[in-house]
Symmetry: C2
Subunit: 218 residues, 2 copies
């Protein structure tokens, strides 16, 4: 069975890709350039991960369409907040309807490519801050996509109830090349180590007793 995977280039979607590959799925990966500060780095990471797994990667440009979507994550908007991933300051990084839009486009691509599933990397650590990562959203979106495609497409989020610590535990067993992933939200090639995304990642490596293979500014 073929799956279309939303591949951002971060740890979570890299592990989703590894999991789908380990299950023998036929795979097609899609990344999005939506105008965020870290898009160019995460898109490069996604492309490199797809090469590693020898699967096709398509980059969809939404930067024109999502220009004007208010979020500190977006280029030209205010600074990326520093602090813990679950802090209220992180709500400044919410991008309006981002996963709703991604899932919808992926459903259309999946239908057109005769895939039956769209796999997403959303996880339990995202819940506090991002409304379009919560289980109740996922269930409703899955229902909408199933009904709107006449049952052709369903969503899968294998880590919906697992946090980044658990994702990393799974990924280490699957030998995910985490040195190729990009997590930091900032517009700089070397990860800052201080934004919420970096902090959550470093915590996950620390709790798994493993050294993070990527360099940090801090």
């Amino acid at each position: 069975m073929k799956a279309v995977i939303s591949l951002s280039g971060g740890m979570d979607s890299a592990t989703v890709l590894a999991l789908a590959a380990s299950e023998g799925r036929k795979i097609s990966c899609v990344g999005f350039n939506y105008g965020s500060k870290h898009n160019r780095y995460e898109n490069l990471a996604a492309s490199s991960l797809a090469d590693h797994y020898k699967v096709p990667f398509r980059l969809i440009d939404l930067s024109g369409i999502m220009k004007g979507f208010v979020s500190n994550l977006m280029k030209g908007e205010k600074e990326i907040p520093e602090g813990h991933y679950e802090d209220s300051s992180m709500s400044l990084t919410v991008v309006p309807a981002r996963n709703i839009i991604f899932a919808s486009i992926l459903a259309g691509i999946a239908w057109s490519e005769n895939a039956k599933e769209v796999w997403l990397g959303i996880h339990s650590g995202d819940r506090a801050v991002y409304p379009d990562c919560r289980p109740e959203f996922f269930a409703a979106m899955n229902e909408a996509i199933s009904l709107g495609t006449d049952g052709k497409i369903r969503l899968k989020a294998p880590f919906l109830s697992i946090n980044k610590v658990g994702i990393l535990e799974t990924g280490l067993k699957l030998k995910v090349p985490y040195e190729k992933t990009r997590t930091c939200y900032k517009d700089q090639s070397i990860s800052c180590g201080r934004c919420g995304a970096c902090q959550e990642r470093r915590e996950a490596f620390s709790l798994n007793g493993i050294e993070d293979p990527i360099p940090y500014e801090n």
Copy 2:
């Protein structure tokens, strides 16, 4: 309260626009170029309708993103079928996930523009053929968008349970300039009069006892 309206340039969305205007809503209109054969004609109609109602109109280009979406409606694909709108041949004009994608992007735009509602022109005549126009899809999509935007945005489809005959009846009272609308699916400036979309439109005018103000080839 501000509403973002999906304005295709057809009769249904023109009437939705007229209805929202008659209710005193602040309005912003969005059209999509998704690569269909009739896009250029319907986008021109949409722009002209927005001018008529003195509301802003933004055209979103999805033609690159939706290239490869299999449907006879799309440029470069097979012929538009002729026959009645509810005939099985019309299922060839289904565009994968089209309304799922449109509703999602409109939700993001609405959030970013501080609108609370997204209005869609889907109606009961669309049900037989288009899965993403059915009431059960609409309910699930509305729920997904509400949950995924933290309750900021809701969908409205004022004609969900009304057919084109009823829409026209409403629109005539609202003095919708139907001469500015475009319905035909074909890639030609003069409407063909024979495709399912033309036939449904002509039937609606006929049943309302009114002459359709646009010219037809047939």
